[in-house]
């Protein structure tokens, strides 16, 4: 019985690598990737908060890292990931109601989400830059 089951050639669902990438598919993957990246990005938030709670001396070290080009790059990427994942979540809420499931709506909302995520990330940082009087 067990031997027979091993020998049966069952059809397999197509593997990921044979699909030609579609934009909606890439956005779906990006939703998961940004989610996972945010998971580990939050270590920075915990580190920053605990350093602030530890006092001005230790905080100045962390602040120096945040102000460095690497720190700024991570912060910018983190902001984009957060906005992208949030907009992706809003798209899921729309789908939860049963709306926007047709092919055209999927394509349009995928592009709208991607473009808004980039535009909003820049808007947030440009607004932040002026708010801080060009501090960072």
């Amino acid at each position: 019985m067990a031997d027979n089951r091993m020998n049966v050639e069952r059809p397999l669902s197509p593997h990921l690598q044979i699909y030609s990438p579609m934009f909606t598919m890439i956005m779906s993957v990006m939703h998961r990737v940004t989610g996972a990246a945010l998971y580990f990005g939050t270590i920075l938030l915990a580190w920053w908060l605990i350093s602030a709670a530890s006092g001005a001396h230790y905080f100045s070290y962390v602040n120096a890292f945040v102000g460095s080009w690497l720190g700024r790059l991570i912060l910018f990427g983190y902001t984009w990931a957060l906005i992208h994942h949030m907009l992706g979540g809003v798209r899921h809420f729309i789908w939860d109601t049963g709306a926007m499931f047709d092919k055209k709506a999927l394509e349009v909302s995928a592009w709208a989400m991607f473009i808004s995520s980039v535009v909003l990330t820049w808007a947030v940082w440009i607004a932040g830059y002026f708010m801080m009087g060009g501090r960072l």
């Binding site: 989610g35 915990a46 709670a53 949030m86 809003v90 708010m131």
Partner: protein, 130 residues
């Protein structure tokens, strides 16, 4: 073959057999935390650009204001819960070895719990002491 107990319905027998051992509660909590996260993330982004590169006194003054401290705490709680649910799905999707899967699931719960606790402790300390 296991004998079928007559009192057990087919649904009772099927419950808990999926890789996630559950379903609707996970989905529901995931959506509730996601919904809470939308306004809280907007406030967090405001906080982020306001305090990025700010000196220690500015950061302490920011968290002294109760609404700021409370909203960031809510963001941390809702996010930590959402993170736990989200990474659980990723673990269940990609780690098929039962032992590694359970270890990763435990690690995920502990990590997100510690993350939440660390952040809340820091915010409370900043808000009440400095």
């Amino acid at each position: 073959m296991r004998m079928q107990t007559p009192m057990r319905t087919p649904l009772k027998q099927a419950r808990g057999l999926g890789s996630a051992r559950g379903g609707a509660e996970h989905f529901w909590r995931q959506r509730i935390t996601a919904l809470a996260n939308v306004p809280l993330t907007v406030f967090f982004l405001y906080t982020l650009v306001t305090l990025a590169g700010a000196d220690h006194a500015t950061v302490v003054a920011y968290f002294k204001f109760p609404i700021s401290a409370l909203l960031i705490m809510l963001f941390v709680i809702s996010s930590a819960w959402h993170m736990m649910l989200g990474l659980q799905v990723i673990i269940e999707d990609y780690i098929h070895h039962e032992g590694f899967k359970i270890a990763a699931l435990i690690g995920n719960i502990l990590f997100t719990a510690f993350f939440g606790l660390i952040c809340i402790y820091a915010i409370v300390k900043l808000s009440l002491g400095g």
